[in-house]
Amino acid sequence: MKILRIDLSNKAVKFEEVPEKYAALGGRALTSKVVLDEVEPTCHALGKRNKLVFAPGLLSGTSAPSSGRLSVGGKSPLTGTIKESNAGGLAAQKFARLGIKAMILEGMSDEWCGIRLTKDGVEFIDVQDILGKGNYEVSDILREKYGKRVGIMTVGVGGEQRFVSGTIAVGDTDGRPTRHCGRGGLGGVLGSKKVKTIILDDAGINSVEIQDKDKFKEASLAFAKILINHPVCGQGLTTYGTPILVNILNEAGGLPTQNFRNGRFEGTEKISGETMYDNIKERGGNPSHGCHPGCVMRCSQLYHDKNGEYLTGGFEYETIWAFGSHCKIDDLDAIAKMDRFCDDFGVDTIEVGVAMGIAMEAGILPFGDKDGALNILSNEVAKLTPLGRLIGQGSDLVGRAYGLTRVPTVKKQSLPAYDPRAVKGVGVTYATTTMGADHTAGYSVATNILKSGGYVDPLKKEGQVELSRNLQIATAAIDTTGLCLFTAFAILDEADALPKVVDMINAQYGTSLVLDDVTTLGQNVLRWEREFNKKAGITSAQDRLPEFFKDEVPPHNTTFDITDEELDSVYNF
């Protein structure tokens, strides 16, 4: 494996030997360490001193199940912190097969360009015919030109315009831009460097090198079996995907409604995972779609419209919440159109969905106005009007432009789909993770609500700090392996699971890691990220939730009562 370094300012391409200090790292561990080592923490995130680091996980490109996750790291133009943005799709496996341990993009190109990687090396390509076009059209053009089996990453117009909600889209198993490095605006960073697309062509390459093939196969098959037999990984996610959470969070009183005013929404059933499943079955979509080859969980789906035509894919709980109960919209097909828009334009559905609700809070349009929301996307955001740019830049900016206090952000990033007063464990994560308000960084929801990895009462403060801390550490480690984070449901419940992951890594690399090394790795990743953030000017004052979370929310009428001292103790390890 090599480090591929591209200086976009002069198109210099270098394949470097992997330094010893990076040898044992992959995925998020590698991106965060490189960003800490090489990026000035005080740089302007959209300027030439920021870098983007693309790293497949340690297991990516092998036959390990559900191991195709890509990490992209840099300084976020939204949060001003370090960011690791993670996506499925085809890219991670192809980076690994091309022998690229990490690709570092630095500087800034004068002209818009694309980067094409093949077994023969690096080529810069002309992108004049795809600039200004949406991700769907661009994917079709590029697949026509370069082949249907290539991995394609693109920025949409959102990234071209350097939105802090700009994503890097990653083509899925059908070549559609449904997977995204979504949060924190790394698509805006790639756009600031004037790179429209990265194409990965691994034709002519067989596989990734594995030192002990027999031991690897044994561990990999055992891990696959654990996943398939686990009720969440092998059945729940496969059938319903993440949208099943709509009804669960509503029942638990934690589904944020009308900008975090209530934990239940009267329109919930209409936007539920059950309704989505029924629509898919009736209209000829696919409820169990894998975002990358080798995923046994297949939590994604292909959602068709009333006419039976494909409308969108990778239609997630977070999206349905942000444009749904958060905005008081109860029309699933309308929300599917919004998902399609965001995937095509290349913006984070959470950031833009929450911003849409803040636009409603500001009185720009009424809560519940689905046609108004669709109109804002098509005629303001898409047309890059000042209002469109405002909403594309996220909740914090919309809130400040209209003098609002009820703005649900941490480090300027919008909160995701769980009220922290009803799911206190994830509230601790939102406040303290290095990433800004982020639910995946320490998904306490699993243990607060979903009975995964034990149980900690979501309505009480006890145990939440420890829960968030442990999950943040474990997640940082899993994000290094290239495994989809959803394998964590099995890892948390089955004592055999994590040892199999360690066995796979040892068999592949000839290492002798033990379980404790996994914990140490996770802790180190968090320490590196915290160090960057501190140098970037982030203090504990930013590890807090907005003050309106001290007010009660029905139906449970609880508040977020975890103290500042308790939040500051999360990183005591």
Binding site: G236, I244, E251, A252, G273, L450, Y455, F486
Partner: protein
């Protein structure tokens, strides 16, 4: 006593005539969550059960008008 019950995901297909939304089930006073599970014939299922929005185990005693939600194991993000 009347209990307000909602079933979710594929559990909906396992109870005759259940479509969606709340149904009202009459149980003897002092029935438990476990008694409700037996009534629904769900004893072989792994379940997440919420009573009035809070997760409860089989021993929990139900009272008149309680709102119960019953889920199979699911995950998400």
């Amino acid at each position: 006593m009347k209990i307000e019950v909602r079933l979710f995901a594929y559990l909906r297909d396992m109870v005759k005539d259940y479509d969606k939304g709340p149904i009202f089930i009459d149980l003897p006073d002092k029935s438990t969550v476990g008694d409700l599970v037996k009534y629904l014939d769900f004893e072989d299922e792994v379940l997440i059960i919420m009573v009035n929005g809070k997760r409860e185990l089989e021993e929990k005693v139900l009272t008149e008008g309680d709102r119960v939600g019953v889920f199979p194991p699911v995950g998400g993000g």
